[in-house]
């Protein structure tokens, strides 16, 4: 009865309620949206690499190494000897070692030189291995395995011929037009930078950088040129025992024959994420302020209506409604409005994410789930409801006072 009374009362003040509703809708959407994107970004960030115990590269900052080896952002400062890779591969503690050679691109997508181990040992998300959507791993020099985004963007199929360029820009002046590759496989979507990468053998990377004359020679006879790689950009290591991680890290850092640096991906990732913490807090604060602005708008609206509602309150009072009931009536009105706004916001955000999901993924590499209802979102909703109760006590208390003072003459 109280709820239907509150609903009727809200309906009666359609116009101001509708405006307040939109203000709430926007602010709650901002708050929940920011919260959702923040979490999703963190999740998609953390799922980029999994089960890798150490990343080894040339000494620079650990963030720098992480960024270019895992996120494929920025340029590697230096590379390490291929012999060092072999040394790591042969180390007793090491179960597997994936070499990574960076520096080339294809229409803005990074080209990675690696070996077969990449497809068996590289893991992302919750230790998920890479899987093929079509085809299989490269088996010869001029074969390439592409990520799903590369395939979608250029509509590549297995068997298509593509060209790889030196340099990482989308437009390169130094196209290696004479080194055509054949797509041997397309990887399933992972939601990581792998989707935006092309994978070739380490030897193929060497081949890309050959002089045109030697290249022609090579195309005629695959064995004509020595393609043994001299260096790699980074190495990802999986260890037999996690306990060996720190010892091996120290050994690698003190390796006498090459300048090497080993980092723990987890540690580097959390350092990177903590750099964004301030930005994260700022976003949160702004969205909370926006929420409060519209909650105060809500209570202003309710408070302004109190004057018109004096006679209504007097009637309820005479019918036997106590002041506390009138107090809760106003609170219920506010809560109904906020709840409807929350439901509408959740639907709006989910719908937007469903509609824009593909675009966000292909354009910004953001993999956002359309499912909003995580534990954190529920907590945020709880906080919104709590805050609206707090702010609505102002008009509710005004109604309470009105009710206390109202007497039988509702003459105003």
């Amino acid at each position: 009865m109280l709820i239907s009374l509150a609903v009727s009362s809200l309906k009666n003040r359609r116009k101001s309620i509708l405006l307040t509703f939109f203000s709430l809708l926007i602010s709650i959407s901002v708050l929940l949206g920011v919260e959702h994107i923040r979490q999703q970004a963190k999740e998609s960030f953390n799922r980029t690499v999994s089960d890798v115990d150490l990343i080894v590269g040339a000494p620079s900052g650990q963030l720098n190494l992480l960024l270019y080896s895992v996120f494929r952002m920025g340029s590697p400062t230096n590379s390490i000897n291929f012999k060092s890779f072999q040394f790591l591969q042969d180390n007793q503690q090491v179960e597997w070692a994936i070499p990574i050679s960076l520096g080339d691109s294809h229409h803005g997508f990074r080209v990675i030189g690696t070996n077969q181990d990449y497809f068996t040992h590289f893991k992302y998300g919750k230790k998920q291995p890479l899987e093929f959507e079509q085809g299989q791993a490269f088996s010869s020099l001029f074969e390439v395995v592409i990520g799903i985004d590369v395939a979608k963007e250029h509509n590549y199929q297995v068997g298509n011929e593509i060209v790889v360029a030196h340099g990482v820009g989308s437009v390169s002046f130094k196209h290696h037009d004479k080194t055509p590759f054949v797509v041997s496989g397309i990887l399933k979507p992972t939601g990581t930078p792998v989707d935006k990468s092309l994978h070739v053998t380490l030897e193929a990377i060497e081949a890309i950088h050959l002089s045109p004359a030697k290249l022609r020679q090579l195309i005629n006879d695959v064995d004509a040129v020595n393609l043994a790689p001299n260096n790699v950009t980074a190495v990802m290591l999986g260890l037999k025992s996690k306990f060996a991680t720190f010892t091996l890290q120290r050994n690698i850092n003190n390796f006498p024959d090459d300048r090497l640096m080993a980092i723990l991906p987890g540690v580097a990732m959390s350092e990177l994420w903590s750099m964004m913490a301030n930005f994260e807090i700022l976003l949160r604060v702004i969205s909370i302020l926006v929420l409060f602005a519209s909650l105060f708008g809500l209570s202003t609206m309710l408070l302004a209506s109190m004057d018109q509602r004096k006679s209504e309150i007097a009637v309820l009072r005479v019918l036997g409604a106590g002041p506390s009931l009138i107090f809760s009536l106003v609170l219920i009105e506010a809560l109904i409005l906020v709840s409807v706004a929350i439901i509408a916001s959740v639907m709006t955000i989910s719908l937007t994410l469903t509609l824009l999901g593909d675009w966000l993924a292909s354009e910004y590499g953001l993999f956002l789930s359309a499912n909003l209802l995580s534990m954190e979102a529920l907590m945020a909703i709880g906080i919104i409801l709590f805050a609206s109760i707090i702010t609505s006590t102002i008009p509710a208390f005004e109604a309470y006072r009105n009710a206390l003072q109202s007497t039988l003459s509702a003459r105003n």
Partner: protein
């Protein structure tokens, strides 16, 4: 809630059972140290219809508020239907009012955005007598010479005369023993006023409801067998400020 009518002593009970309202040594002031209304002794029998008159500001509405339990007296006692009303907690007074007292104001009796039926249902809800309300409401409307179709109309769409009659229906829906009516006809024209008065008195007569009708309009006195001037209730030395 069952009212605790046994709390009164046996000797009181005989006397009080026939009395709808008993007021004793009542004092009330709107500010501390002020006495705006003082009534030594006033009793009203069950089933009586009384016309309480007095000019504006003579304390009529204050008295009604005290009777209905919206105000509490500074001193003295108000007993309704044998129940010491002024001694009850605020919550119990609200409940008592919902169940036993019907009130009709001068105007703004109905919540404008609710339908007539919803307005009546609200009254039933607060008295916790919600069963079969539509049937009882239809009956009452017929007695009040209103069409049953009016139940689904919004209160704000009715004429003032209709609104006042719906207000009676709502006041009587919980079969209260006491009906308090405060200047209900001041917004009505002469013809509507006459219809309203006849219907009101008929229905109170049929239902054996005690009626306290308050007005400053002496022309309405002719509808009543008994009338009281508020000044005669008050002590000669009481100052009447309202």
């Amino acid at each position: 809630m069952q009212l605790n009518e046994n709390s009164t002593s046996v000797t009181d009970k005989d006397a009080s059972q026939s009395m709808a309202i008993e007021v004793q040594n009542l004092q009330h002031g709107y500010a501390k140290g002020r006495i705006d209304l003082k009534i030594e002794n006033w009793q009203l029998q069950h089933g009586s219809h009384v016309f309480l008159h007095g000019e504006s500001g003579s304390g009529k509405t204050t008295l009604l508020n005290l009777i209905a339990g919206v105000l509490t007296p500074q001193a003295g006692e108000v007993r309704l239907l044998g129940q010491t009303f002024s001694g009850l907690s605020a919550r119990k007074r609200d409940q008592f009012r919902a169940r036993h007292i019907g009130v009709v104001f001068q105007q703004f009796n109905l919540i404008p955005y609710l339908t007539v039926l919803q307005n009546i249902m609200v009254a039933g809800y607060f008295a916790k007598k919600s069963d079969d309300i539509e049937h009882r409401a239809t009956q009452l409307l017929t007695e009040l010479k209103l069409p049953a179709s009016i139940l689904q109309q919004q209160a704000s769409q009715l004429s003032v005369g209709q609104q006042q009659r719906v207000a009676i229906a709502r006041a009587l829906i919980n079969q209260p023993e006491l009906l308090i009516v405060d200047e209900p006809t001041s917004a009505l024209d002469a013809a509507a006023r006459d219809t309203f008065m006849r219907i009101l008195l008929d229905i109170c007569h049929n239902k054996l409801t005690t009626l306290v009708f308050v007005s400053h309009d002496m022309s309405l006195k002719r509808y009543f067998s008994s009338s009281i001037d508020i000044h005669s209730l008050k002590q000669p030395n009481a100052s009447a400020v309202c």
